[in-house]
Amino acid sequence: MVDLTPYRAILRSRIRAQLQYRTSFVTDILGTVGVGLTELAEVWVIFHNVDVLGGLDFTAALLVFALSNICFSIADMVVGHLDQLPTYIRAGTIDAFYVRPLPLLAQFMSSEISLRRIGRLTVAIIVLAIALARAEIAWDTATVVLLILSVLSGTAIFSALFTAAGGLQFFVVDGAEFTNAFTYGGSYAAQQPQRVFPDPLRIFWTFVVPTAFVAYLPAVAILDLPGNVLAPTWLAWCTPLAAVFAWVVAGSCWRAGTRRYQGAGG
């Protein structure tokens, strides 16, 4: 059995640290609430001009928005700080992580937890409640299971993207922004009704960077909307498989990156 005490101690200290400066903490939370609200406003402005976008009405679009935002904010809270890797690599402070007798990835994941993302998460949860209340859903066990399954798998998919991005940072350092294309870009793509994309892009966001599984495919199944070739309703149940696939890729990226690192000579 793995001893989790060191991780717990680090996380507790990180949380305590963030709660020390109350004003800063509250400001930061309000900030992420604001980020969530502007993203929501984007959807709302579009639906102010159209009734249906890519086969989804406003309620369905809210469901897609909510699911993808819930998954993304949890992933961002837990592993989003992998973004900071280039700073550690450049400063050489990453060496300290290598010499500790704990797995690297586990150390990094537990080295920080950004509580402020709770703001954006709250916005997403409220939107989810509104969307589920407005939609006509034939509730049964399968729907509930699918909902829970997709939140878990969706979070795993976004975490995998952050981890893959982290692994690639060892190769690109100065080009850290490259990976934003599929972490933040992936999150942006996940909130969209996938039918707006031309087929090559849809295939990309479903089978290469599997963000369509995070929100769109589950939402189509939950609302029992007619599926289509690239999004049959049963595909929603493959969301855990997509998460596994994303983690296999992420694991290889991470291993390739960390093995390549040769130290900063500190």
Binding site: S24, G34, T38, E42, V45, A176, F178, G185, P198
Partner: protein, 264 residues
């Protein structure tokens, strides 16, 4: 004037060192461009032929010019000056025989130039190759559109400079910067064109300097605003630029009197 030009060049060269970062930025801008283009075109198609004066080719031009200008116009603001105020380094800027605001403006124009060339132009090219973008309708749209881009850079700089100077009074400006970043992205028309907003929100946006930072040049370059209306748009932008530069000078002057640097 010569000093100003030299400083612009220095800013240009300083930021041209990070070529890989520019390429990375270009890639990310292009990916967001692909997503946004798909969404907005789908919206225009769903609504019929156009929304708020944007048909499909115009909205595509809006998206790709927007992604191209993203690196040049500093929409999210910067923090260098605020940090210097907090640490007291700003005192060194005051000792120099140049106005700090103009010094930083010159550096920012240089930064914008290299970003426009190495980060913006390739993104625009990708957009133009993949999609049927509306070209600026005439030579005047090209020329005045680019003038508008330069003014947009100045407006964004001048506004963010003021936000940074607030550090003279509140020390930690992170909260204010955060609010700034959130509102600017939305009200400048980066995500959705401002003409698509509901009336009240559009009116609200038009009373802020944000549209002058992005929406205005995009209107001219996409051809949504044409003919004499271009001059009106430019005049509005220039007014914001002038107001913000002057306010920046006043705030700088007041802040200087307040500044107290500890130690030797």
């Amino acid at each position: 004037m010569r000093t100003f030009a030299l400083l612009v060049r220095a800013g240009f060269r300083r930021h041209s060192t990070y070529r890989l970062a520019l390429l990375a930025g270009m890639t990310t801008n292009s990916v967001f461009g692909l997503i946004r283009a798909s969404v907005l075109v789908a919206a225009v198609t769903a609504a019929g032929t156009q929304i708020g004066g944007y048909d499909a080719p115009k909205v595509l031009a809006f998206v790709w010019w927007g992604q191209a200008l993203l690196g040049a116009v500093n929409l999210w603001g910067f923090q260098e000056v605020g940090d210097r105020v907090r640490t007291g380094d700003i005192a060194i800027d005051f000792l120099r025989p140049l106005n700090p605001q103009l010094t930083y403006l010159a550096g920012d124009l240089g930064r914008a130039g290299i970003n426009l060339i190495l980060r913006g132009a390739p993104a625009l090219l990708i957009g133009a190759l993949l999609y049927d973008l509306a070209a600026p309708p005439g030579l005047d749209s090209w020329v005045l559109g680019l003038v508008s881009v330069v003014i947009a850079v100045v407006v964004a700089f001048a506004a963010s400079f003021i936000v940074n100077l607030l550090a003279f009074w509140v020390i930690e400006v992170r909260g204010i910067r955060l609010v700034w970043m959130i509102t600017s992205g939305f009200l400048c028309g980066l995500y959705v064109p401002i003409p698509w907003f509901p009336d009240w929100l559009r009116t609200l946006a038009q009373w802020t300097p944000f549209p002058a930072m992005l929406q205005n040049p995009l209107d001219i370059l996409s051809g949504r605003v044409d003919g004499g209306a271009i001059w009106m748009t430019l005049a509005g932008q220039l007014a914001w630029g002038a107001v913000l530069i002057v306010v920046g000078q006043v705030v700088l002057h007041r802040g200087r009197r307040r500044l107290e640097v500890q130690g030797g």
